[in-house]
Amino acid sequence: MRPIERGSAFGPAFSASVPVLLGYTTIGIAFGLLLVKSGQPWWLAPLMSVVVFAGAAQFMAVGLLASGTGIAQVAILTLVINARHMVYGLSLLDRFGSCRRFKAYLVFALTDETYGILTTVEPPAGVDPESYYAAVSALDQSYWVIGSTLGALVGGLLPFDAKGIEFALTALFIVLLVEQTRSVRKTAPYVVATIASGAALLFAGPADFLIAAILASIVGILPFRKALS
């Protein structure tokens, strides 16, 4: 193993994370603002973003907390929303397999966007992969924490015309998909995932879309196992 140069992972990690900076700060502001408007104390926004760090689940929690939903029910809904992360981990077993120092944090901080970057944007040669993964994850979380804190504290005061900037996250997924098509040059996974997404939209409804589409994709790719290997 090459010696780890201090700080060398930060630059590449920062440039990989800029799209997330745009998306997480603005969506974080919206979350913080919404949470405070629903009657919660401001500090709950940064606290949730530090200990939960799951965007969709946090947005869901705003309404559930306001209506006093039981903790067990919130836990089950969180499980449904975040079950897709089990699949993410499954495809990172090798990549995180050699990680030691930051492995627990990497697993904790695995959001959709961080997953996309870590599986698509390779660290440059000479940069310790684990440090790069950790830097991307920590930067992404810091954007989310900063955004939600800002939203909770001063969200109501901001002249909020950054409307539409959240498209940066869609754009990030599109870029990562284009990059995937360069490294995985087979048509089957894209076709299978597109059909699975269509089926999920028809049969599962918007709330369960992601987990339904991902599970359907996995089932759908299995018949191609022989052809692809």
């Binding site: 559930l64 981990g89 077993l93 959709d112 539409g164 869609t170 284009v178 995932a193």
Partner: protein, 105 residues
């Protein structure tokens, strides 16, 4: 400080962490079967496809502006990226176009 709110938050944190850690805990001691090796290679492109399509699932083609900002900006991102392969140019270009289109359409 409300015990209910903090308790709910801790439950959410625990469940989320469990989801993220489950595959690592499950394969901590045992070797992943060949099927998992196969899936590791093809899950990322499938998930990226699903995440892109999922970003578009709330877009309405039936009423104005008929999804034009989302679709035009998305094609711009893909086009820029195929052409220049500069992530920031692709993302900032497409996002800027989107922000303009939703204001003028």
């Amino acid at each position: 400080m409300s015990l209910y709110v903090v308790g709910t938050m801790i439950a959410m944190a625990a469940v989320t962490l469990l989801c993220r850690a489950a595959p690592f805990l499950f394969f901590l001691k045992r070797r992943p079967p060949p099927i998992v090796e196969f899936l590791q290679a093809y899950i990322p492109p499938m998930i990226m496809t699903v995440l892109v399509l999922g970003s578009y699932k709330a877009v309405s083609l039936a009423k104005a502006p008929y999804g034009i900002p989302e679709i035009a900006a998305g094609l711009t991102v893909a086009g820029l990226h195929l052409w220049k392969r500069n992530t920031l140019v692709s993302i900032l270009g497409g996002t800027a176009l989107y922000m303009i289109l939703i204001r003028v359409m």
